[in-house]
């Protein structure tokens, strides 16, 4: 493991932050304090964090309906995130988006997306802007195994190949699209191999090993920055919770879930880092404590934030529009 102490610290810090955040959201949702649909990222932390460890605030990411982890990995502030899930005015989207549309353009996080396959074309656009404007920003497009069957994903990978766009496509293969296994919905049951359809590099990595993800992403991001075009990374992972909160998860066995929990990506990384002396036990404990206090503060921030006024529904539709028109 080649990681510097700083990188290792950052990685663990973000992974534990995501874990604590998502477990708290599950609790808050169960208590009825969060409306709508909530899709949790717990179990998949190593993917978002391993990838985003290679990015700066100037780089972009597009996300999915399962976007909290991508936000935290990209540096979005947990306070406004929690406020958004609560639907408050200090939320990242002023309470207009909620979990499925959580975003922070100032951090290059171009939004969770309620449409499976909605992100890949947008990612090509952000990359096209960087290419045209001559910045050397890179865009990462996270999508699920189910999204791989959506036509937009195919079109986006091809056009990225045609235009040699600085995009990294990251397929988060957690084995299921809702209750449907990838072995059923994906005729070839591998996503990385699709790269050959677009003459771009494609690799499969263990999405439970954050260092493996980090290294694969480092190569793909460097390639994109060099102007050599897109890549596809398939990260094999697993979600700890149901598809969304409320899902009974009958389609997975306790054994399967236990087996994955066995190799929990956070514990695995922490153990390795400590064994190899890159981090100390105390670093891990401190990070865990930081995560808890940050999430406590985020919840407090969210609860303290005022509720929007009903008529706020009428603003932010357009930059400019005759006001009465948006009224019914």
């Amino acid at each position: 493991m080649e990681l510097t102490r700083d990188t290792a610290l950052w990685i663990y810090d973000r992974m534990t932050m995501i874990r604590v955040f998502e477990e708290r959201v599950a609790k808050l949702f169960a208590e009825g304090r969060i409306p709508g649909f909530v899709h949790l990222y717990a179990g998949e932390e190593a993917v978002a964090v391993g990838v985003c460890a290679n990015l700066t605030d100037d780089d972009y990411i597009t996300s999915t309906h399962r976007g909290h982890g991508h936000c935290i990995a990209k540096g979005v502030d947990p306070g406004p995130m929690m406020a958004e899930l609560f639907g408050r005015v200090d939320g990242s989207c002023k309470g207009k988006g909620g979990s499925m549309h959580i975003a922070d353009v100032s951090k290059g996080m171009l939004g969770a997306n309620g449409i499976v396959g909605g992100g890949p074309p947008l990612a090509c656009g952000a990359a096209l802007a960087s290419q045209t404007l001559g910045t050397n920003a890179v865009t990462v497009c996270f999508f699920g195994d189910g999204a791989a069957e959506q036509g937009t994903t195919h079109e986006a990978m091809n056009i990225a190949g045609v235009w040699k766009l600085p995009v990294v496509f990251v397929a988060e293969n957690n084995g299921f699209a809702e209750s449907t296994p990838v072995g059923y919905h994906c005729a070839a049951s591998t996503i990385a191999d699709r790269a050959s359809s677009y003459a771009i590099p494609g690799v499969t990595v263990d999405g439970y090993d954050v260092v493996a993800v980090y290294e694969a992403a480092a190569e793909a991001v460097a390639r994109a920055r060099r102007g050599d075009g897109p890549s596809l990374i398939e990260a094999k992972t697993w979600r700890y919770f149901g598809h969304f909160e409320g899902d009974q998860v009958t389609y997975r066995t306790a054994e399967q879930s236990a087996a994955y929990r066995e190799h929990d990506p956070l514990t695995y990384f922490a153990t390795q880092a400590v064994e190899r002396g890159v981090l100390g036990r105390d670093d891990i404990d401190a990070a865990d404590r930081r995560a808890v206090s940050t999430v406590d503060a985020a919840v407090a921030f969210g609860e303290a934030s005022p509720h929007p006024r009903p008529e706020d529904a009428l603003t932010d539709v357009y930059v400019s529009y005759p006001r009465e028109e948006v009224r019914s």
Partner: protein, 345 residues
């Protein structure tokens, strides 16, 4: 409610979810060419133990239990490829099946609209009437669940606009059962809109076979003070408004078109001729909407009967916001309906 087939003797209380599920079961028993397709309509495809069982039975459980009875060859889980499976439903309908495809949320129509409005809707016409497309697309509509901007729309106006499609929006469990049966038996492509907040609404539903013909509106409450045309979930809002107004001695007539294309304009016009006043309640966005469609039709065809300007109670020209306060403001309210009726008096 009009019953075409011999009226069944008995009814019992069912939820909208149960009524839709029953209609699907009865039509599948009746006709072996009826198949279901959609994401997780059974769920758990190829998962050991789910060969003849469903893991989900639809995201909100509407198709639960059907794979047990009809098997996975007639209840097909699909990849997340709406264009492919809805287009496949069109192709299968043109070649001998009667597919019932599920578009989970109507807000997803943007990824498969070509197969719906350019292929399914126009195939018969472009082929000079030498083919038919007996297809039903079931889809969820409506705000009120905190599902935000991409899971809460209605947009039945977009499909009603399109020649070749029929559009159905049930407002009661009994109508849902009868209209879905009629839609499955219909030889044209039908979009069937189910409001996600109504699945647990209960009502009396006839046992056994019952068919509510397409193109026939239903007067849900009689009155002579004003005609309130409402669709889907808005029908119950209109009935609540009717109760409140009745308290002040104002008796409004609540008319539910039930099918938007074809539209039973005769029934709507007859009511306006009687009341001289029109309020249209539509949860969809206001521009080029069913609300404007009905108001324009009435203004053209019942101009002399109208004693006051038509009033439209609709969602605003905005996406659906997430926070409950804003979402409730977005959805037409009973108060706004009452006020609109008063404005016509």
């Amino acid at each position: 409610m009009t019953l075409v087939s011999e009226a069944p003797s008995t009814t019992r209380t069912l939820s909208m979810r149960q009524a839709i599920n029953e209609a699907l079961r009865l039509e599948m028993e009746r006709d072996a060419t009826v198949i279901l397709m959609g994401e997780d309509v059974a769920g758990g495809a190829t998962v050991p133990g789910f060969e003849q069982d469903d893991a989900w039975g639809g995201v909100l459980g509407v198709t639960k239990g059907l794979v047990q009875e009809f098997g996975r060859r007639r209840v097909l889980d699909t990849p997340i490829s709406e264009s492919a499976y809805i287009g496949a439903a069109v192709g299968a309908a043109a070649t001998g099946l009667r597919p019932v495809a599920e578009l989970m949320f109507v807000d997803f129509f943007g990824v498969c609209m070509d197969q719906i409005f350019n292929q399914g809707a126009k195939l018969r016409y472009m082929f000079g009437g030498k083919a038919k497309v007996p297809l039903v697309i079931r889809t969820m509509i409506g705000a009120g669940m905190g599902a935000a901007g991409q899971h809460s729309g209605c947009h039945y106006s977009v499909f009603t606009h399109m020649p070749g499609l029929k559009t159905v929006v049930p407002s009661t469990p009994a109508d849902a059962k009868g209209l879905l049966a009629a839609s499955i038996r219909d030889d044209d492509p039908v979009l069937f809109f189910e409001h996600k907040l109504m699945y647990d609404v209960t009502g009396e539903v006839p046992e056994g076979e019952c068919v509510v013909p397409l193109g026939v509106a239903d007067v849900k409450r009689e009155g002579d003070a004003a005609t309130v045309v409402a669709m889907g979930r808005m029908v119950s809002f209109a009935l609540d408004a009717a109760e409140r107004l009745a308290g002040d001695g104002v008796q409004i007539e609540v008319v539910d078109p039930r099918t938007l294309s074809p539209l039973d304009s005769d029934t709507l016009l007859a009511s306006v001729h009687k009341t001289g006043r029109l309020v249209v309640v539509d949860e969809d966005n206001p521009r080029c909407s069913m609300a404007t469609d009905i108001a324009a039709m009435v203004a053209m065809q019942a101009f002399d009967s109208l004693d006051a300007p038509p009033q439209l109670v609709t969602a605003p020209h905005t996406p659906v916001p997430f926070a409950p306060e804003m979402e409730n403001f977005y959805i037409p309210s009973v108060e706004r309906i009452v006020a609109a009726v008063r404005a016509t008096l």
